[in-house]
Symmetry: C2
Subunit: 130 residues, 2 copies
DNA sequence: AGATGAACATGATGTTCATCA
DNA sequence: TGATGAACATCATGTTCATCT
C-alpha cells in the first residue's frame, strides 16, 4: 500500500501536480531520438531542436540541453564519447550515443503516455473554453 | 524595429522561450469561462477545475487559483463581489463575475492561439519521436 | 471547519561566467 | 571562436501559516 514511491518520483520528473510536461523531459525524448539517428554533440542537438521548432517559436537554451544530456547518461540511457573534431582547430567534442536500448524503450514508452496525456489536457481546454 | 515591448511582455505571461503554456494562464481561461457560466467563489473554482481534470491527474493548488483570480481582477477582466454565504455559519465569500466583455474576448483570443500552438508542439513531438 | 490571502520555500529554467582546445 | 560545463539568478509554483466567520 501507499503508492509506490519510485513511481511517484518518476511522475515528478515529468510534471508537477499533473500539469503539463516539464521542458527537461520533453527535451530528453528528442535527444534520444536524435541520438538514434545521428552522431551529434551538445550544440548540434540544440541547433537541430531549435530548427525543428522555429515555426513554433520554441527556442530552448544550451544549458538545458546539457543538463538533459547529463541526466540521460546518469540514467544509463545514453553514453558519452569524446571525439577530436576535424578542421583547422582540433577541438574536442562530446558525442552522445544510445547506451541501453531497453532503457530507451522504457523511457519512450513513459513519454508516449505522458505526451498523450498532455495533448488530452490541451484538447480538453480547447473544447471547454472555445 | 525592435519587437513591440508590450507584445513581448504578453508573451512572457504565456510561456517562457516558447515552451508550453504556463499554468497560471491555463487556469485563467478556465476561470473566465466558469465565471461566464456560474456564480462561484475561490474554492468552488478550484473544485470545479479539479473535478474536470480528475481523470488527467491534474490537481492544481488553491493559492494558484487565488493568484490567477487576483490577476484577472487587476487586468479588469473580472470583478469581485463580496457575499454573505447562506447556512448555519454566515461566512463572507468572494464571488467573481465578468467585468469587461471586451477584455474577455481579447484574452480568450490570445489563449486560443496559444493553446493551439501548444497542441501543435505536442503533436509534433508525438510524430517526431514515435 | 471552510474560506481567503499572504508569507515563505522549493525547484525548474535562464543568464552569466570559466575553462579548454 | 566554438564547445562544454558549472555557478548563479530569477521566477513560477507549491507549502505553510494567519486571519476571519
Amino acid at each position: 500500500m501507499a503508492v509506490n514511491a519510485t513511481e511517484e518520483k518518476a511522475k515528478r520528473e515529468l510534471h508537477s501536480r499533473g500539469y503539463l510536461l516539464k521542458q527537461r523531459a520533453f527535451l530528453k525524448v528528442y535527444l534520444i531520438t536524435l541520438a538514434e539517428k545521428k552522431r551529434l554533440y551538445g550544440l548540434q542537438f540544440l541547433d537541430e531542436i531549435r530548427e525543428n521548432f522555429r515555426s513554433y517559436g520554441y527556442r530552448p537554451v544550451h544549458s538545458e540541453i546539457y543538463k538533459a544530456l547529463h541526466e540521460l547518461v546518469d540514467e544509463g540511457i545514453l553514453k558519452r564519447i569524446k571525439i577530436k573534431k576535424e578542421g583547422a582547430k582540433f577541438q574536442e567534442v562530446v558525442i552522445y550515443q544510445i547506451h541501453n536500448m531497453d532503457e530507451v524503450r522504457r523511457y519512450k514508452k513513459l513519454l508516449l503516455v505522458e505526451l498523450e496525456r498532455c495533448r488530452g489536457l490541451l484538447d480538453r481546454a480547447l473544447r471547454d473554453n472555445f
